[in-house]
Amino acid sequence: MNLLQRLFPHIDDWAEIGRASIDTLLMLGGSLALTLVIGLPLGVLLFLTGGDQLRPMPRLYAVTSLLVNILRSVPFIILMIVLMPLTYVLVGTKLGIRGAIPPLVTGAAPFFARLVETALREVQHGVIEASQAMGASVWQIVRHVLLPEARAGIVAGTTVTAIALVGYTAMGGAIGSGGLGDLAYRYGYLSYQSDYMVVTVVLLVVLVQLLQMIGDRIVTRMSRH
């Protein structure tokens, strides 16, 4: 206890750091889950409608692609502010974990959709052609060929997206969404308590390392065959 006090003189309530960590994990978990649910179909749509793929629809592709690009080009902190009215309508608050999730998903889903599109393009065209020759419908090809064949790429994309979301949640802290970013900003930056900064940064680094390790491990297991 003495050692902790000497090393981190300003931190008198470690439980607060624990709560902030849990908040960050909740924001990450909630927004990642929604990002996958929205981003995966969006990525499939981009893949199917683009180029000379299974269902080429140049106009739909152009519109979807533009929307994705716009959302990806707005810096997250601005996106969060711009979306505030919409966030309020959707979840009834602009603050806290719930208030953070709509902008987090809006920022991350288009990003993840592009990664999914790229992963699907890596699937050999011959495999798709073989499935068509077997009489598979587009839905059957997506469900039984594209997604399973691209699963290693999709998991890798999920890892990258999860790590980007860790960064976004920390940014969200600056405008009232809580979590580790909030602690770092309020105590570490505004009150010059750099021990808070050190602890939160270390925790964030550990979190990112863990996510990368888990992701890599799953990808390795999947691509063994």
Binding site: G126, V127, E129, A130, A133, G135, R151, H225
Partner: protein, 336 residues
């Protein structure tokens, strides 16, 4: 029966239509092995894909077992495609699925849900292609020949009446090619399946095909029974393919026979005539001397054949030739 009527196909590239296949009509009979041979870019891959409509024709009609393919609705086309198996040069197996699941895939696509029914059918198919003990492996653990066998098992899963082979042996070594070809020939014999294969190797055609079409720059320049086309090629492209399949010393080497006296002849024997001692008998009876310059005896699918290049000398050469023709031997006089 596969019937093409006035079919043609062109692609749009750079704002204009580029013809890939010029208008043609062709019938492929039930139960035959039909080969399409051509150089790369000749249009053979497009022609093959017209049969299951992976490529849509720009015009004309395509009938498969009496069904006009081009007017089918999408669900009807999918149902029809299940009756047409297809194998590929690069196998196109699902890397994420085991051998058994790859073979089960078309069965599941066709709506079969009962695990025991699927399992039994898969076992039966894998046994047929000789891969029974590899059911739980992944494609990456197999050799090229084994992968193609999985492809064949998968193509046969829904008991198709037609099997399309897209350069199925081009990525395989000669020994593996031979074993895959004999597997295909066996399937054709036992299941009475129509096989359409495309290749750039005359040897593949010679070993398994009944009839062949030679494709050159989008046009079928020659077609007929393999024995006819192989023994008497007419078009320059066909001659090139046939010569590639022959031993070097024979291919276009009759320039070297300029010094040999007598009339230069090429004799072709087919089937039973290959085994009869006609040449010796005619030589004795007519007193004509035959000087054999080159020759070979081999098989076209199951048909034994022989071809001899020889010089004939003597008073009664014409009588000798008539007697040989009488014995069923085809004779061509070669230019000197």
């Amino acid at each position: 029966m596969i019937r093409f009527v006035d079919v043609h196909k062109s692609y749009r590239a750079g704002g204009r239509d580029v013809p890939a296949l010029k208008p043609f009509s062709l019938d492929i009979a039930d139960g035959e092995v039909f080969g399409i041979i051509g150089l790369s870019g000749a249009g053979k891959s497009t022609l093959l894909r017209l049969i299951n409509l992976l490529e849509r024709p720009s015009g004309g009609r395509i009938e498969v077992d009496g069904v006009e393919m081009t007017t089918l609705t999408e669900p009807a086309l999918r149902a029809q495609r299940r009756r047409i198996g297809m194998i590929f040069q690069h196998f196109n197996l699902l890397a994420s699925q085991t051998v058994a699941d790859n073979v089960a895939f078309p069965i599941r696509l066709a709506g079969e849900r009962r695990a025991d029914v699927i399992r039994r059918r898969v076992d039966e198919l894998l046994a047929r292609v000789g891969l029974a003990e590899h059911a739980d492996k992944y494609p990456s653990q197999l050799s090229g020949g084994q992968k193609q066998r999985v492809g064949i098992a998968r193509a046969l899963a829904n008991r198709p009446s037609i099997l399309l082979c897209d350069e199925a042996t081009s990525a395989l070594d000669p020994q593996t090619t031979a074993s895959v070809l004999s597997l295909l020939a066996g399937i054709n014999r036992e299941l009475k399946l129509t096989i359409v294969l495309i290749t750039h190797e005359m040897d593949v055609v010679r070993r398994v095909c009944d009839r062949v079409a030679v494709l050159d720059a989008g046009t079928i320049v020659e077609h007929g029974s393999v024995a006819d086309v192989f023994l008497h090629p007419r078009h320059a492209t066909t001659k090139r393919f046939v010569n590639e399949a022959l031993p070097e010393e024979e291919a276009g080497a009759h320039m070297a026979y300029a010094q040999v006296p007598g009339r230069l002849l090429r004799l072709s024997f087919r089937g039973d005539t290959t085994m009869t001692p006609a040449l010796g008998r005619v030589a004795r009876d007519t007193g004509v001397d035959f000087n054999i310059l080159a020759g070979r005896i081999d098989r076209i699918k199951d048909l034994p054949y022989g071809q001899l290049t020889l010089a004939a000398q003597g008073e009664h050469v014409d009588a000798a030739l008539a007697a040989l023709r009488q014995a069923g031997i085809e004779i061509e006089e070669l230019p000197r």
